[in-house]
């Protein structure tokens, strides 16, 4: 008997957020950016909170970040994650702009090696055949 498959919680993009998931499919981390004042905005919004412009577009970022905080998820809150725990949820700060925070996982790093400020690089991890997510791993250039 084949094990019943648990469907992952699939993102439901809107026209405003489609660029992000298109980027993931292309192996790029894309973040919404104001085309007038050039600030990045995450999560995506219909107007720039810095200059109120409505002219916004997804742009590829470097994928470099620093670790701001983390938590070891040991309790699943969705059936798909029951066999995925423990995993390291992390708030990372993308290098493109101070305060540009992104919520993801840190992978390939033992818990005891996690440090605030450590350098990270984006990596694309396939959680299920239909779900790939941008995650972060310690940079080889550990600064």
């Amino acid at each position: 008997m084949k094990e019943p498959t648990v469907t992952p919680p699939m993102p439901h993009p809107s026209p405003m957020t489609q660029f992000f998931w298109d980027g993931v499919a292309a192996g790029e981390l894309r973040i919404q950016r104001c085309q007038r004042c050039r600030h990045y905005i995450h999560y995506p919004r219909p107007y720039c909170r810095f200059c109120r412009s409505g002219d916004l577009a997804g742009e590829q970022v470097s994928g470099r970040a620093t670790l701001y905080s983390w938590t070891i998820a040991v309790q699943p809150f969705h059936p798909f994650f029951v066999d995925k725990i423990p995993y390291t949820l992390a708030t990372v700060e993308l290098v493109e702009q101070p305060g540009l925070m992104f919520l993801s996982h840190v992978v390939d790093c033992p818990e005891e090696d996690l440090r605030a400020g450590m350098l990270l690089n984006v990596t694309f991890e396939q959680l299920a055949p239909e779900l790939t997510l941008p995650m972060f791993r310690p940079s080889v250039d550990r600064g």
């Binding site: 993102p11 938590t71 070891i72 969705h78 029951v82 708030t91 925070m101 919520l103």
Partner: protein
């Protein structure tokens, strides 16, 4: 416009509170309201305004037979009980109504285990956590978005930035449990040891189950009125000296730019700017403890200790009954259950009335209560007559 009224608390009360009681929202509204009316020696005829979080103000007013309503407000996403409380305070202060009932009504939310098993209870909380549209598309597919997970992130940041230790959070849990041991209304009254705390399971490491409030069904009610009317009711009035409501961003905890200093810092600055009282004047503090780190942030924000010093401040015993600043003398929501902020207002009121029995802080004249943190928060400074 009428001149600004001085606002007082005239009645406080709770519904039956318990785990999966089977009580409906209407039951919780009716019971809590009656308890607050009885406490104040009041009748529904004394009330002309309603604010609520968790029920619907018009439906409540009609069901309770309060007619006409001069003023009503149903809170949406907001920082717990302090939001309907502040709406009521503002309405009475401005003269839009003379006596306002502030409610916080909660049905117990599904547990992590129920959610992991694919909970199909139809509880709106379940649907919210499972959503993958809007901002949730950046959380749910990552296995993120549970409140305990952002609490883990904010707890970890406090530890990383300030050197706060697990044991210091443990001291907080132990202190609150000691207070709960003196409160017949608490679920948990047995003493807690550091061994117990450190052995408690992690929910989202470094957050332990003992750092979390206790889910339950609860209805809480507080009646705010004018000074003049308050003097005619049964209980000595407790006065609102100053209050503050603040938000520093939209409702996304996981991507806060600064997780160590959040909206309570702004909220507290505003609060102190609106009063002649100072932190040293406060006799009891009732600081939201949905998660332990929230109480720590409020201790720092309100100036009871320096930035990042909440850990040592708690460890030194300052927040314990008999200490410099008794905090959460009812035992906090970790022990009395999730009344979502209302218990802090009600316990502060009872301390200022001198009704707290074994856990009474002698001579208490000034108390502060606060709710929520992160994106949004609120605080109220209360005084004895």
């Amino acid at each position: 416009m009428a001149k600004r009224n001085r606002v007082a608390i005239a009645g406080v009360g709770y519904s039956t509170i318990g785990r999966k009681t089977g009580l409906t929202i209407e039951d919780l509204v009716a019971q809590a309201t009656q308890a607050a009316l009885d406490d104040g020696g009041m009748t529904v005829g004394d009330i002309d305004g309603i604010s609520t979080l968790g029920s619907e103000a018009l439906a409540d007013g009609w069901m309770l037979g309060i007619e006409p309503l001069n003023w009503f407000s149903t809170s949406g996403a907001s920082p717990a009980f302090v939001h309907p409380a502040l709406m009521s305070i503002a309405a009475v202060a401005s003269g839009m109504c003379h006596t306002a009932l502030a409610l916080r009504i909660i049905r117990q939310q599904p547990s992590g285990a129920e959610l992991a098993a694919g909970d199909t209870s139809g509880n709106p909380m379940t649907a919210g956590l499972a959503a993958t549209s809007g901002d949730r598309q950046f959380l749910t597919p990552f296995g993120a978005g549970s409140a305990t997970q952002w609490a883990g992130l904010l707890t970890q940041r406090h530890m990383a930035q300030y050197g706060t230790t697990e044991e210091q959070f443990g001291h907080h849990a132990i202190t609150q449990r000691h207070h709960a041991s003196l409160n017949e209304d608490a679920f948990f009254r047995d003493p807690l040891t550091m061994e117990d705390y450190l052995a408690a399971r992690f929910v989202s490491k470094p957050l332990r189950i003992l750092d979390c409030d206790y889910p339950c069904d609860s209805g809480s009610a507080v009646i705010f009125t004018t000074e003049e009317r308050a003097r005619d009711f049964a209980k000595p009035p407790v006065f609102v000296d100053a209050c503050s409501l603040s938000a520093i961003r939209d409702l996304n905890f996981e991507i806060l730019e600064d997780m160590a200093v959040t909206s309570p810092a702004h909220c507290a600055r505003e609060l102190w700017s609106r009063t002649d009282l100072r932190p040293a004047d406060v006799d009891t503090a009732h600081l939201y403890d949905g998660f332990s780190v929230i109480t720590f942030q409020w201790l720092e924000a309100l100036g009871f200790c320096g930035p990042g010093e909440a850990g040592p401040f708690v460890e030194e015993g300052n927040t314990r009954l008999g200490g410099r600043l008794p905090v959460n003398t009812d035992g906090g929501a970790c022990n009395v259950g999730r009344r979502h902020g209302a218990n802090f207002c009600i316990e502060a009121t009872r301390q200022l009335r001198g009704e707290c029995g074994e856990r009474q802080v002698e001579g208490a004249e000034v108390s502060v209560f606060s709710n929520a943190f992160g994106p949004f928060s609120g605080a109220v400074l209360l005084t004895k007559d």
